[in-house]
Amino acid sequence: MAKEIWVLAEHQEGKVKGITFELLSGSIEFSKQTGQKVAAILLGSGLEEATKSLIPFADKIYLLENPLLSPYTSDAYESALLPLLKEHEPSIFLGGATSTGKDLFPRLAMHLETGYAPDCTELSVNEEGRLTIKRPLFGGKVFAEMVFSEARPQMATVRNHTFLIRENPGRSAEVLPIPTRLDPSSLKKRVIHLEKSPGARLDITEADIVVAAGRGIKGPENFKLIEDLAEVLNASVGTTRAVVDEGWRDLKDQIGKSGKNISARLYMAFGISGAIHHILGIGTCKTIVAVDTDPNALIFNYADYGIVGDLFKIVPALTEELKRVLAS
């Protein structure tokens, strides 16, 4: 039996996340080389809408339903997944480099004594289905190209926006419900509640477009300018360590070495000089725009487009121009 390529499906409020569609799109590409089937692994409860949305993106959906699988805890997911992983021995098992993937995959890989590469930014397979990955080290100063040994599954977590979501994935998954019994007494962690972030914006690691300001914004109240720009672009708002340390913005929005690494399609930095801590966090963004009053700001060495200028003039003008252009 040809071994399968598995993707852990992540979902939030019943909707499958972008990263999962990205990973399935990448896996469909791999399956054309290896002839393997692509399977989405979906755990939780109340999964109808999620299941439906995954059907075009996979050949199979393993559906593990149990109220104890919602919300996610590593305990419950691990108990449910280990028997399935041992039974099917997939060739590859991918997850997002997310709060779920990074939490769960090391436990599974340790238990299965198999290989796991975290936070990958490039993946490829050969015809035998052997996985090669690239991942940043030292915060992105160096990349490592790595290959898996014979152990299966080959496990990896992958950064957001590493693969593009296919417009026409063209598959039609068979849905396979897997009876999943869990002993509540064996589950140690309990989620009491989720304190949701205010606003409807995606996390900066997930957003397609991230706009950010550094200390050049001069005060927390001025972030309104950046918020307005974000609104027009449907972007998320990031910032620097200096701003977080001033207490102007929440830690969850911090980009860089002690914060988050982002791989946005478009990243716009306003009043950010470009300390190495920050630069390391944006290395895998596709297009970078920098606006700063200092023509020698380091950020310009890493940007695709740069403007030397005052963000207090540029940001409002940019917001207006985008409103005009995007409306037409």
Partner: protein
């Protein structure tokens, strides 16, 4: 409370990393105690100050003990170095196996570690250790309260859409994220004392590690080659005056970069 803290000395973010050969890096000799590990040490010390007990800092490194000395200078009671040239080339899973061998018979209420080490940025060792010790873990915590009488912790962890509040029975392992606390700066006097502090040294043979379970022979994912970061094209500076520059930027983003 008996607490172990996993610590590591890692290259400073300013250190130069040079690719020496395909599979060898040359790292400038500028090291510091992993940022997130100091947060873990601080968390352990605060629990000790509140409830009593002992804090032991623990590293797997046969070259550097500075992270242990940092821990002692901040207030840790004991320091243990697992050191053995045979461990050279170990990946995070091998390190977790070594730590498991050392910790499996030791009494403890809590193990704390940093969210990840700022060298390979893997974030594996702590979680894999929890798996091998068969204890629960919570990754990337930004809040921690312990109730020793109930042997339970309340923790907050960062997730994409907010902050998740959980309860977790002890013993457990938590990895610590920025925001949990601000690590104390040790007094100069304590730094001096820490330079002379006794460090307990343990080798892997005494832990009964099979040689094929550690070092480079145990790797399940191998480095083919190291590469410089992907080169970015040179910056295009938009030199036109305001507000023309804003219009040009928008046009370039739409027509050239095609991101809007």
């Amino acid at each position: 409370m008996d607490i172990f803290v996993l610590v590591k000395q890692v290259p400073d973010p300013e250190a130069t990393i040079r690719i020496k050969t395909d599979t060898e890096l040359e790292i400038e000799n500028k090291y510091f105690t992993n940022f997130f590990d100091e947060i873990a040490i601080e968390a352990a010390l605060r629990l000790k100050e509140k409830f009593g007990g002992k804090v032991t800092v623990l590293t797997v490194d046969h070259r550097r003990v500075d992270a242990l000395r940092r821990g002692i200078s901040m207030g840790a009671d004991e320091a243990v170095q697992i050191a053995d040239p045979a461990l050279e080339g170990s990946d995070p899973f091998a390190i977790a196996r070594i730590l498991t061998a050392y910790l499996k018979d030791k009494p403890f209420d809590l193990i704390l570690a940093g969210r990840q080490a700022m060298d390979d940025d893997s974030g594996i060792v702590g979680i894999a250790l929890a798996e091998a010790l068969n204890i629960p873990h919570v990754h990337s915590i930004i809040g921690l309260e312990v109730d020793p009488s109930k042997k339970e912790a309340k923790v907050i962890r960062e997730v994409e859409n907010g902050k998740e509040h959980l309860t977790c029975p002890l013993p457990a392992l938590f990895t610590c994220q920025k925001g949990l606390n601000t690590p104390r700066i040790p007094l100069v006097m304590n730094v001096m004392k820490a330079m002379k502090a006794q460090i307990k040294k343990v080798d892997s043979a005494s832990l009964g590690m099979e040689p094929n379970k550690v070092g480079s022979s145990s790797l399940q994912v191998k480095v083919l080659r190291y590469l410089p970061p992907p080169k970015r094209p040179p910056v295009k500076m938009i030199k036109e005056d305001y507000p023309e520059n804003v219009k040009i930027l928008v046009r370039l983003l739409r027509e050239e970069a095609k991101v809007l």
